[in-house]
């Protein structure tokens, strides 16, 4: 009995400290000015990388920024729980500078789970000849779907990224490459396009310990910034259109050979492609009180016929977030604080189709419902509470395992 009480007390103190620390820092006058971003209404998802709060000082030629994501988690599957954990999901630093007129540079470096994974997620220069014609080269985020481009923790009221944007499209997906992007404005409309050639995935897409087709497993090749595994480029293209009143819709497509099919000039395998088609949308209704965001993605992968159907040749995922702002006013001393409630629904089928042997459906399906409550002291900081209900079937479609996860976390730009 006594032990649980001291444990509770410790938890209480820890929580209080974390929260008061945020509270305090938000009230501290910053040494540098934060250059806030303008209304998202005139922006597309493709602008997300520049549309962030940066710290600028008159003495420094660069603007600095970053964000953190951390949370507590308590989760259990079918009566088995690994207990309670604190998770430091990621620390991301970004730096940008205007090198010369119409030449911009930005880099984003991410530390995941402490220093377990350190990635350069973005590191590219933009040369603008015309708003319709900007050349970008370096390590760039493949513009597939919207979440991949617009994944900063503080923007979301949910702690976990949607499975469509992790298991189907492996956020953050970035590769070395180059290409063009541009925008066109007309009255209430903005249209944008992006087209890049980059290095692609590797053979692990269909040969990995997850035991399922996974673009995520095929993106981690340590050599990928140096060589394209297949020796051929991957194409990614996206068009998006936004109306200031109605919202944004984007369609994107990505295709490339993922396997090593020749070595020293000799053919060692057939060429096999991975193709992704994605659609995304977001809209704000009821005077911005109701925000709806969603994405659909479909992956098609060439799998050799004598390999195993455990690795599916088709998969898809979709999610929708609905966020409603309950109150937006001065709260607890913050001038434009906001309290949101929301719900995320998601569905993923990692392996579409039927078994050749039985003509019965191949399982490996997931679904989740995530209610959330989020308090935003300011637009750039969020304290969020999520309660995640998840179900998953195995390859054969046997009765699903059920997982519930309770999470309380913070995410903030700094």
């Amino acid at each position: 009995m006594k032990k649980t009480y001291t444990f509770r007390l410790r938890k209480l103190i820890l929580l209080a400290l974390t929260c008061y620390a945020i509270h305090a820092s938000a009230q501290n006058d910053s040494l540098m000015n934060t250059k806030s971003t303008d209304s998202a209404k005139t922006r597309l998802n493709m602008d997300a990388i520049y549309n962030r709060p940066f710290l600028v000082s008159n003495k420094l030629p660069v603007a600095l920024g970053g964000y953190i994501e951390a949370n507590t988690q308590y989760s259990g599957t079918d009566g088995v729980t690994e207990g309670f954990s604190f998770q430091m999901r990621r620390l991301t630093l970004f730096m940008s500078s205007t090198i010369a007129k119409n030449i911009k540079f930005l880099t984003e470096i991410e530390f995941e789970e402490g220093t377990k994974e350190i990635n350069i997620e973005f590191c590219a220069a933009d040369f603008q000849f015309n708003p319709l014609l900007v050349f970008r080269g370096g390590i760039i985020m493949n513009p597939i779907g919207a979440y991949n481009q617009n994944h900063d923790g503080p923007r979301w009221d949910f702690i976990d990224r949607p499975l469509t944007a992790t298991g189907i499209i492996p956020t953050t997906l970035s590769n070395v490459g180059a290409g063009l992007h541009g925008k066109y404005f007309m009255h209430n409309w903005i249209m944008g396009y992006e087209f890049y050639l980059t290095n692609g995935f590797d053979d692990k897409v269909i040969d990995n310990e997850e035991g399922r087709t996974s673009l995520g497993a095929g993106k981690s090749n340590a050599d990928k910034f140096d060589v394209s595994n297949s020796g051929t480029p991957m194409y990614t293209g996206k068009v998006a259109i936004r109306n200031r009143q109605f919202g944004e819709i984007g369609i994107s497509y990505m295709r490339g050979i993922y396997n090593k099919f020749r070595a020293d000039g000799l053919k060692i395998d057939d060429k096999r492609y991975a193709t992704v088609l994605a659609a995304d949308f977001n809209t704000s209704l009821l005077k911005n009180k109701l925000n709806i965001t969603g994405e659909f993605a479909r992956v098609m992968v060439d799998v050799p016929s004598t390999y195993t159907q455990q690795y599916g040749s088709k998969q898809w995922g979709a999610y929708t977030d609905v966020i409603y702002t309950l109150v937006k006013r001065k709260m607890l001393g913050w001038n434009s604080a906001q309290l949101n409630v929301g719900l995320r629904g998601e569905l993923v089928d990692y392996n579409e189709g039927v078994f050749t042997e039985t003509s019965t459906n191949i399982g490996d399906e997931f679904w989740a419902l995530v209610p959330c409550l989020a308090f935003r002291p300011s637009g750039t900081t969020v304290i969020r509470f999520n309660y995640r209900f998840e179900g998953a079937t195995d390859l054969f479609g046997n009765p699903p395992s059920r997982t519930n996860t309770i999470q309380l976390g913070i995410s903030s730009y700094f």
């Binding site: 209480l12 079918d78 040969d207 997850e210 039985t358 019965t360 390859l395 054969f396 046997n398």
Partner: protein, 417 residues
Amino acid sequence: MILNSLFAQNKKMKNKLAFTGILILFVIIFNACEKFLPSAPEADSVMDAPIDGLTYEQNKLFLEGAEEFDEVYTTETGLGPLFVSTSCGSCHAGDNRGHPFTALTRFGQSDTTGNKFLDFGAPQIQHRALPGFVGETIPNGATSSKFLAPIASGVGFLELVSDEDILAMSDPLDQNGDGISGVPNWNTIPGWVKPFKDAKVKNGKYICRFGRKGATYNLHQQVAGAFNNDMGITTTFLPNNPFNYLTGTQPAPPSEPEITDASVNGVVFYLQTLQAPIQRNMDDEEVMKGKAVFKSIGCENCHKETLKTGPSPLKGLNQVEFHPYTDLLLHDMGAELNDSYTEGSALASEWRTTPLWGLGLSADAQGGKVFLLHDGRAHSISEAIQYHGGEGDKSRKNFTDLTESDRNALIKFLESL
């Protein structure tokens, strides 16, 4: 009034109170977390727990073995190049019966004189292959049979049934005149398989008990064989990769075995200490009636309800009775179940009596449908019984002649297993 103005005076105070209130709310929620998590399935609806009475150390070993059992192997960790499936768990989902997707094909032996197709990679086809390799097909002129994975739960108990007990159940000349003979599979065992202390030996052959034809001696042989033949993974026991006669390539074995002896032993320990399936609704009247029918129409002559283990250093396995509904013997099941393929001293029409435990939970492991008998050809329990010929013919007739209520009770009993 006074209170109100006090609060108005000190808005900051109010803020902090609200703030602390929210905090306390979250702490309460987190402390009550367990109540918000999904509950465990009933113990008798799953079969992946360890036997009772393991020490902490043994629990850890069990968990390591379980992890290995479910590990999906890849090129990097030794899979293939030729294989049938990528993990033990993919064929033995939930430790119960396997799905036709992971069925394997054996070929090349049609009588007791041995396998004539060893040069063609017999006895097992690895029809799947890593990208860039070619899977095998059955060579011309070879007979073959498809095998679905039998239930893995409870095999630790089956391994410990003494040879003496098995021989006692066998009746090769049908001296009791019940139409059922039942013989063990006397088979040669490889040098790296250590026979048990009180093993019976006949002409250098041992009583084998695992597999559809009962041709495998013990769990160690089963596991090392599965790694090699089912997944193309080499061990110190079986250091060569399966080869493809079609392309004539047997990839040179890696200089080191692809997995360690410790991993093999871990999986063996997992299987040995894996629980047996638990019967459900034992005391239900209809179930009890069905059980009586099961015995009266002669099913139990092969599907023996109770066996006992010999001595074991593990308390939970030491000389205990258990209820697998098998005699671990081979029976001639007639022409319909004769695939013209066999192993060891079994005839092509002979099969080891399938343990019936876990039968009622098969659908939860086989994707909602059931696939019974060695190759999954039966899609219901009654259909499986209807395939019983040869020594099983009499009990099949008895089953057909049952009144509807007796038949329903029997099925209900079988579903409770």
